[in-house]
């Protein structure tokens, strides 16, 4: 599970120019094991589940379903859900429907800047199999090849009720300690990177956005 951090185990950052390479970190991400004492880990998971900060990044048409969550009708604040405009502080990434290749690049940047443990909910049918965009030249068909996904809320589009239900399902999963997407991403880092670079032709960012 641990990723040994020896000196030659660094990322190439080949997408960057030599000048830019000096500006970015080339360290590999590291997997983190849960706390050795189970009660502490359970307590931490309880806190994580009851304070879900959603990254305010609408990646597709489904982001329109995120807005009503905060209104009087659905009021997701009751479940400890809040919007966060910065990836550094948020812990849940809701992929709002289809992801175009151009957006995927930004999704990866934002996802990698989030601090672990981080959770991903995919909204709608598009991230599962492409949905109505299945034969489009610039839409990702199977989203979990690029970023680990914890939960899918299917439909086109799922209503805010479905989103609230999926948030509560995510809370259950987190409390059970089953959401380790950040670790999965690190363990299969090379596979995810290869998939990402296969579709993103103009890769001009570091291999891991610290």
């Amino acid at each position: 599970m641990k990723n040994s951090l020896n000196t030659d185990d660094t990322l190439e950052n080949s997408g960057l120019t030599e000048e830019e390479q000096l500006l970015f970190s080339n360290a590999r991400p590291r997997a983190y094991e849960p706390y050795p004492i189970k009660a502490v880990e359970d307590f931490a998971n309880w806190a994580r589940a009851n304070s879900l900060w959603i990254l305010a990044f609408g990646t597709g048409c489904g982001a329109i379903e995120l807005r009503p969550l905060m209104t009087a009708r659905f009021d997701a604040n009751r479940f400890g859900v809040a919007g966060r405009p910065t990836p550094r502080q948020s812990s849940v990434f809701i992929i709002g429907g289809y992801a175009s290749v151009k957006t995927l690049k930004r999704i990866i940047r934002s996802y990698e800047q989030m601090q672990g443990p981080k959770f991903v909910i995919c909204l709608g049918i598009c991230p599962i199999n492409g949905g109505m965009y299945f034969d489009s030249y610039n839409t990702i068909n199977q989203f979990d090849q690029y970023i680990p996904v914890d939960l899918y809320a299917t439909g086109c589009m799922p209503r805010p009720e479905a989103l609230v239900a999926s948030i509560m399902a995510l809370q259950k999963k987190i409390k059970a300690g089953e959401c380790d997407g950040a670790n999965r991403y690190v363990e299969n880092f090379d596979w995810y990177k290869a998939n990402q670079k296969k579709v993103i032709k103009n890769w001009d960012m570091p291999d891991y956005n610290w």
């Binding site: 983190y32 307590f43 931490a44 806190a47 994580r48 009851n50 304070s51 305010a56 209104t71 009087a72 009021d75 604040n77 009751r78 400890g80 919007g83 966060r84 405009p85 910065t86 550094r88 502080q89 812990s91 601090q115 672990g116 443990p117 950040a182 610290w210």
Partner: protein, 312 residues
């Protein structure tokens, strides 16, 4: 020497830690209560009362944290040092040896200095994060702070003239004996100027442009995450409650018990909240112009008023 023996200092420090704990928990609780009140205004239920505590725990239990340099580490530390320092020199409960903190060792000017200190430390820390939105947030925050400090400082000078002392304990002592002795009655001009400055200090609408939750991702703390953020959140509650306690001591006769303290500070906070839910946001230039016009004028008038009171 201020303290006669090591033992006295130690017991003071112990009592202060207790005060710190109570004030922080009270600040977090009242923060959740205010959130719920705002939610009710908007027709929602709002967060559970435990939400601020859970948020802090969650951020503390984050598995990863990256750094942008030494000053980035020190930013939140300076911020909370400012919060703790401010509280340390304020007598929280009047006439109670346990909760009068180190108020004998410092005076009003030291408290005001500490209020500045945290903001400046935060500005340095957030500056090192290198995020452009942090820089924008700091520029806005510091310029707004400069603006609201003017009426506040004028109001404080007015009070100092009125009571002829810099000691917070003596200012509270002078206001004892009934509500007709409170500064809000005896020097209502200064209170008005300071309450207008409080609107800027608390950072609710119309003066929340420096945090601007949507436009510039929450301003100065944009890059702060994990344990840094939980430190900042703790400080936000502590510092918020401390400012209210300072206002209560200066203008509303202090408190002789925790119950009185909580009622008074909550009501002072509600002034900022009522204005906040009713008014839209000012741009930063509008906010600065506002503070430099009416509140500053009221502040100047309060000094004249206090001077006339003295000579009368």
């Amino acid at each position: 020497m201020i303290f006669d023996s090591m033992n006295e200092w130690l017991s003071k420090a112990g009592y202060f830690s207790l005060t710190l704990l109570i004030v922080t928990i009270y600040g977090l609780f009242v923060g959740a209560l205010i959130e719920r009140i705002i939610a009710k205004v908007q027709g929602r239920i709002g967060i559970p009362y435990s939400q601020p505590f859970i948020n802090i725990l969650k951020n503390f239990f984050k598995r990863t944290a990256i750094s942008h340099g030494i000053m980035f580490y020190l930013g939140p530390v300076f911020r909370i040092a400012g919060g703790i320092g401010t509280l340390a020199f304020i007598p929280v409960i009047y006439g109670n040896e346990m909760f009068s903190n180190f108020s004998t060792a410092g005076d009003l000017f030291l408290v005001i200095y500490f209020m500045f200190f945290g903001q400046l430390g935060m500005a340095l820390g957030a500056g090192e994060s290198g995020h452009p939105y942090s820089a924008i947030g700091i520029a806005r925050g510091l310029s707004q702070m400069t603006a609201y400090e003017v009426p506040f400082a004028l109001a404080v000078i007015s009070i100092v003239i009125q009571y002829d002392t810099l000691s917070l304990t003596e200012i509270v002592a002078a206001q004892q004996g009934g509500w007709q002795n409170w500064t809000v009655i005896t020097n209502w001009v200064a209170t008005l100027a300071a309450m207008l400055a409080l609107l800027g200090m608390t950072g609710y609408s119309p003066f929340d442009i420096f945090l601007a939750p949507q436009e510039i991702p929450i301003g100065p703390p944009t890059e702060f995450h994990s344990a840094y953020l939980s430190l900042l959140q703790t400080n936000r509650a502590l510092f918020g409650a401390t400012k209210l306690i300072l206002f209560m001591n200066l203008f509303f006769g202090g408190a002789t018990g925790w119950g009185e303290l909580m009622i008074k500070t909550f009501l002072i906070y509600m002034v900022a909240i009522i204005v906040g839910v009713a008014f839209p946001r000012f741009r930063v230039d509008q906010a600065i112009r506002f503070f430099f016009k009416i509140p500053t004028l009221i502040g100047v008038m309060s000094i004249i008023y206090a001077q006339m009171l003295l000579t009368a």
